[in-house]
């Protein structure tokens, strides 16, 4: 088991490194000189030269990457061009908001998906199966940014139950765990949760239906085990796959939340990326992408490590 974990961690290191390379190279994807965002087009040559050396842009690219990585590891992601503030500070508060949203949405979506999928798998071809299948197709096909808009129309404009935008009353930036703040979380969470709901429903339904036909389940039933005991066996056998799919989904939600955050003006990474892209703020873009993707890499690692813990068969080889 220890060796397995070690192997997984070692495998994650090159992946993490390649993520840093891609995040860094984003600047070079951008058309034109990275300096264009800072210096006016008609700046004198000596100003350009001094700016270049100040940002380290006069050195070879690999050296620039090394310096950038060294600073990033120490928690310094540079200075935002748009706001002049430290990128690390801006990214951290935004990422925590995004992770909170993605976490809640994944939890809600996975829970709903498991219940729907299990019910559908147990009662194949019944009305509940058809409902679950329809919901899962809708969940994966709906443009969630549009769903957010529709939910806003229904629940904030018509019914006035939940606020339409922001993450706290009066546009306050500070998050608090009280009813007033939680109300702001409801619509974005609901919007974002339909994607994992759809995918998990589909997965669980197929797994449960397949499991019910397995010989060992038939044997358990024939022996007279209660429905609940049989269900426990089925749950144990489906859990590893569901966990793997769910883990992947949390990661995708971290990216997918960008669109939903835009709809609800949620102060997360979506907002930050918007600023970064439209103000050509490359340090901010690099930093945000890097931090989000590192979370994704770590999340995948955790899923890889937890899986054999709940499914002993996987740890053996």
């Amino acid at each position: 088991m220890f060796i397995y974990i070690l192997k997984r961690v070692l495998y994650a290191i090159p992946i993490a490194l390649s993520v840093t390379v891609v995040s860094f190279m984003l600047v070079y994807l951008a058309p034109g000189d990275p300096l264009n965002a800072i210096a006016p087009a008609d700046a004198p040559a000596d100003v350009i030269a001094s700016l270049k050396s100040a940002y380290g842009l006069d050195r070879p690219v690999p050296v620039q990457y090394g310096m950038w990585l060294l600073r990033a590891v120490q928690g310094d992601l540079g200075t935002s061009i748009a706001s002049g503030r430290s990128v690390t500070g801006e990214v951290m508060s935004a990422v925590s908001n995004t992770l909170m949203l993605a976490g809640f949405a994944a939890f809600a979506g996975v829970l709903a998906g498991c219940v729907l999928g299990a019910l559908a798998g147990y009662h194949r071809d019944s009305w509940i199966d058809r409902l679950a299948t329809a919901l899962s197709v809708i969940g994966v096909s709906i443009p969630h940014y549009w769903l957010g808009l529709v939910l806003t129309i229904i629940f904030s404009i018509w019914l006035g139950w939940f606020p339409a935008m922001g993450a706290g009353p009066g546009g306050s930036g500070e998050w608090l765990w009280d009813i007033e703040h939680l109300k702001y979380l409801v619509l974005p969470t609901l919007t974002l949760s339909v994607i994992p709901m759809g995918i998990i429903t589909r997965t669980v339904r197929a797994l449960v239906a397949d499991m019910l036909e397995q010989e060992f389940v038939v044997a358990l039933r024939a022996r007279g085990l209660s429905g609940r005991a049989v269900f426990r066996h089925i749950a144990k056998n489906t859990a590893p796959t569901v966990l793997a799919v769910a883990g992947l989904q949390v990661g995708y939600l971290m990216g997918g939340s960008i669109l939903v955050e835009t709809v609800f003006a949620w102060p997360g990474t979506g907002f930050l990326l918007n600023t970064a892209i439209f103000q050509r703020d490359m340090p901010l873009l690099q930093g945000t992408i890097l931090v989000l993707c590192m979370f994704f890499v770590v999340l995948n690692l955790i899923v890889d490590i937890v899986q054999p813990l709940i499914d002993p068969r996987m740890g053996r080889n």
Binding site: P143, W146, I153, L253, G255, G256, T262
Partner: protein, 292 residues
């Protein structure tokens, strides 16, 4: 007279694989009705210059945000007073193209790369697949936003970004099938009898790979539609005043307090198209699963 009885259904068994798939799809009422809806949307987009009741770019300050069902404007007008129905029809041209092109690109480039990696194998395979692993270290939506954000807003840049996130996925499918097939005896036999690599791939490998890749890429169409319009919604794709469903959804957003259903209208079309693509992909998958 009995001698002229129709030929017994034994003929049906000799149909080729693709003909059988086609036959199955034609008998599937779901697939047929979805195809009909898609055809409706596609032809509304293709024939927009002849069918659209008004000029999609012609603004009118007096007729802003007219509700659905207004006289002269069947689906109302947008925030600049442009006819919604016409804009939605013209918008379909860009939205559908932007959804389909990345998938098509991924289908062609991904299959070719996957065949190459799988057939040559060894170090080249390792190199290609490890490089592609990097793409899996990113959440795909985030990667699309990052790439098109770094490249700068614009239609071609978002097409590039979307193709880039789909290609690795298709390569994985094509590579795994090719690697499996390559080891089979009949490929070895073909090689021994002097067939070149190219003709082996074309005759023996490709026919095995196309099926799974086709099923996989049809499944991507819906995601691609949602993401392409999503990028435009973020302001990363098509630029105004072009009519595009995602962009229209964005510019009409502020109108949800005045005329909510009008503002939601472009999203309805994205939703219908995407769900149709998804259901069609399901039908295709079922129809192609008859091999055994």
């Amino acid at each position: 007279m009995t001698a002229y009885l129709p030929i017994p259904p034994a003929v049906a068994a000799t149909r080729s694989y693709w003909a059988t798939v086609w036959y199955q799809l034609l008998r599937d009422p779901m697939a047929l009705s979805i195809t009909f809806i898609l055809l409706l949307i596609v032809s509304a987009a293709v024939f927009a210059p002849w069918l659209a009741p008004a000029d999609p770019y012609k603004a009118s300050m007096l007729n802003r945000l007219l509700p659905i069902g207004s006289e002269g404007h069947l689906l109302g007008t947008d925030e600049l007073g442009r006819d919604m129905l016409s804009r939605l029809m013209y918008g379909g041209r860009i939205s559908l193209l932007m959804g389909v092109i990345p998938v098509l690109a991924a289908f062609i480039i991904g299959t070719a790369t996957g065949l190459l990696a799988g057939y040559v194998g060894g170090k080249l395979n390792m190199a290609i697949m490890r490089v592609l692993d990097v793409f899996y270290a990113f959440p795909s939506v985030l990667l699309a936003v990052a790439i098109s954000g770094a490249l700068g807003p614009g239609m071609s840049n978002s097409l590039i970004a979307l193709s880039l996130i789909f290609i690795p996925q298709v390569v994985r499918v094509a590579e795994s099938v090719t690697t499996q097939v390559r080891k089979l005896d009949y490929i070895e036999a073909a090689r021994m009898s002097g067939a070149g690599a190219f003709s082996i791939i074309r005759v023996h490998v490709l026919s095995n790979v196309l099926g799974p890749v086709f099923v996989y890429t049809t499944g991507l169409l819906s995601v691609s539609m949602i993401l392409a319009s999503g990028l435009s919604f973020l302001g990363l794709g098509v630029k105004p005043p072009e009519p595009e469903w995602g962009l229209m959804l964005n510019t009409l957003r502020s109108a949800i307090y005045i005329n909510p259903w009008l503002a939601a209208l472009p999203g309805v079309l994205i939703f219908i198209t995407s769900i149709a693509f998804n259901l069609l992909a399901d039908s295709v998958r079922t129809a192609m699963d008859i091999r055994r």
